[in-house]
């Protein structure tokens, strides 16, 4: 098993993870970048460790048909990151996923996936005194394309050495949530900003490929057993405009993805929690130009 080492993030890594165990490389041709961790007033650092298992990969065509199971057939991801608050309003998160791809007809391959850097800024803080006032946060994430992707030749037949989606991505968004004692409700709206990449063909030709502008809406609702844990259901929809080659739209390349997930968290001590996420990408409704995948993730979080 070969492991690639990234120079940029090695010194900063301790232990961390993602708030939501999003599998950023579940769709090899491009997905939205991950988001910043939510930090609460009084927290200086937040660390988490997430281990996830993804399987059941199957491409969904432009007209919504489920295709043959694609390669790899399964993947495990270990996500490390660290969040640091600079004030009660501003925090930053660095995230680094590492993954191992599996296929029954090929040797497993491990490598670093694309890292990400996120910033989060609170516009409104929820308080007990004003329960109807929501928490409101702005966030922005940059995900550079560092890991090998399907755009980088030579491509292994079973894509075992593919650990990135090949796209530099920027995400900007708004988080709104209500913690009304036991009940939780949240809405998140993302804008996924496309960045052009130059793809090289085998004959020395190159083309400028620009993913379509994307928007992702996530709605979550759940119940909080105060001091003990919580259970959340999450529905997401991501839409992307058609991709472009050298500025010209590619027909039938719009993206529509409907995801469903459930997350359960249990308190594991003061400012510590463990949890499990279950998620299906392209779970329901009409999906286009995406990949169905099933994900189960276990995470541990600690804040100081």
């Amino acid at each position: 098993m070969a492991i690639n080492i990234y120079r940029a993030l090695g010194a900063l890594l301790v232990v961390a993870g993602l708030m939501t165990a999003d599998s950023a490389t579940a769709c090899p041709c491009g997905c939205g970048a991950v988001n910043a961790q939510v930090m609460y007033p009084g927290e200086n650092w937040r660390f988490a460790l997430t281990v996830s298992h993804d399987s059941g990969f199957a491409p969904v065509s432009a007209d919504g048909r489920l295709g043959s199971e694609s390669s790899p057939t399964s993947r495990q991801t270990l996500t490390l990151g660290i969040a640091r608050s600079f004030s009660d309003s501003l925090s930053a998160t660095i995230s680094l996923p590492m993954e191992i791809n599996h296929h029954p007809d090929a040797a497993s391959h491990g490598g670093f996936s694309d890292p990400s850097l996120s910033l989060r800024y609170s516009l409104l803080q929820q308080t007990i005194a004003e329960p109807l006032l929501p928490g409101l946060q702005l966030f922005a994430t940059l995900k550079p394309s560092l890991a090998k992707s399907l755009y980088d030749q030579p491509i292994h037949e079973y894509q075992m050495d593919i650990h990135g989606n090949g796209l530099n991505e920027g995400v900007a968004g708004l988080d709104v949530w209500y913690d009304l004692s036991e009940w939780k409700l949240g809405v998140q709206q993302n804008l996924i900003l496309p960045m052009t990449r130059i793809n090289e063909g085998s004959a020395g030709t190159s083309q400028a490929f620009t993913p379509g502008l994307g928007a992702k809406l996530a709605v979550s609702a759940g119940y909080n057993w105060i001091g003990a844990g919580q259970l959340l259901g999450i529905i997401e929809q991501e839409l992307r405009q058609p991709n472009k080659i050298s500025g010209k739209e590619i027909p039938r390349s719009r993206v529509r993805v409907n995801n469903f997930g459930v997350a359960a968290t249990v308190a594991a001590g003061p400012r510590r929690s463990i949890g499990i996420n279950l998620k299906r990408t392209a779970a329901f409704g009409s999906n286009q130009n995406t990949t169905r995948a099933d994900s189960i993730a276990i995470f541990y979080m600690a804040a100081i």
Binding site: A62, G67, S68, L150, I155, H156, G201, I245, I250, P251
Partner: protein, 166 residues
């Protein structure tokens, strides 16, 4: 339960409105997607008027310098595929000289290619303008474009043949 005359009319109108409201909003590709049945041809490769293949089987290059017919030997499918490319001039007749310069499967909708690590491209023995592309790997199902660059009668040109991989 019987449906009155006016009930049927409302049902038909509703059904028509539903049909109009559905479907892909993107512009559709104007070139028909080649299926293995189209590409295999029926019977002999020699079509009428001395052409190497019929007009239905032909795919023209961008500048019209050559036409090509592809015959799938294994595929299209996710995995290793093999096909034969038959080159002809712009009128589907046997060329004086021909050379397959490059063969590349490309997934335009996603902007990436397949795996060409084990691919070989060689002239088919006993057939003047036929080439076999063997062991190219299509990585996923969906719409692919086969980019064929060839030099026929001294003129180099490229044909792009769409194919749907199930």
């Amino acid at each position: 339960m019987s449906v009155s005359k006016f009930g049927w009319q409302w049902l038909c109108l509703f059904g028509a409105l539903l049909t109009l409201g559905c479907g892909e909003k993107d512009s559709q590709p104007t070139q028909p997607i080649a299926t293995p049945a189209d590409q295999q041809g029926t019977g002999s490769d020699v079509a009428e008027d001395g052409a190497l293949f019929s007009s239905q089987e032909a795919h023209s290059s961008a500048a019209g310098h050559f036409t090509a017919k592809i015959v799938w030997e294994d595929g299209p499918k996710v995995g290793y595929c093999s096909l034969k490319v038959i080159l002809a001039d712009g009128e589907r007749k046997a060329p004086t000289t021909s050379e397959l310069v490059n063969f590349e499967p490309w997934m335009t909708v996603h902007g990436h290619g397949g795996s060409l690590r084990k691919m070989t491209v060689a002239k088919v023995d006993g057939e003047d303008s036929a080439y076999r592309a063997d062991q190219f790997y299509l990585t996923m199902s969906g719409p692919w474009d086969l980019k064929i660059t060839a030099k026929v009668n001294g003129q180099e040109d490229t044909a792009v043949i769409p194919v749907e991989v199930p």
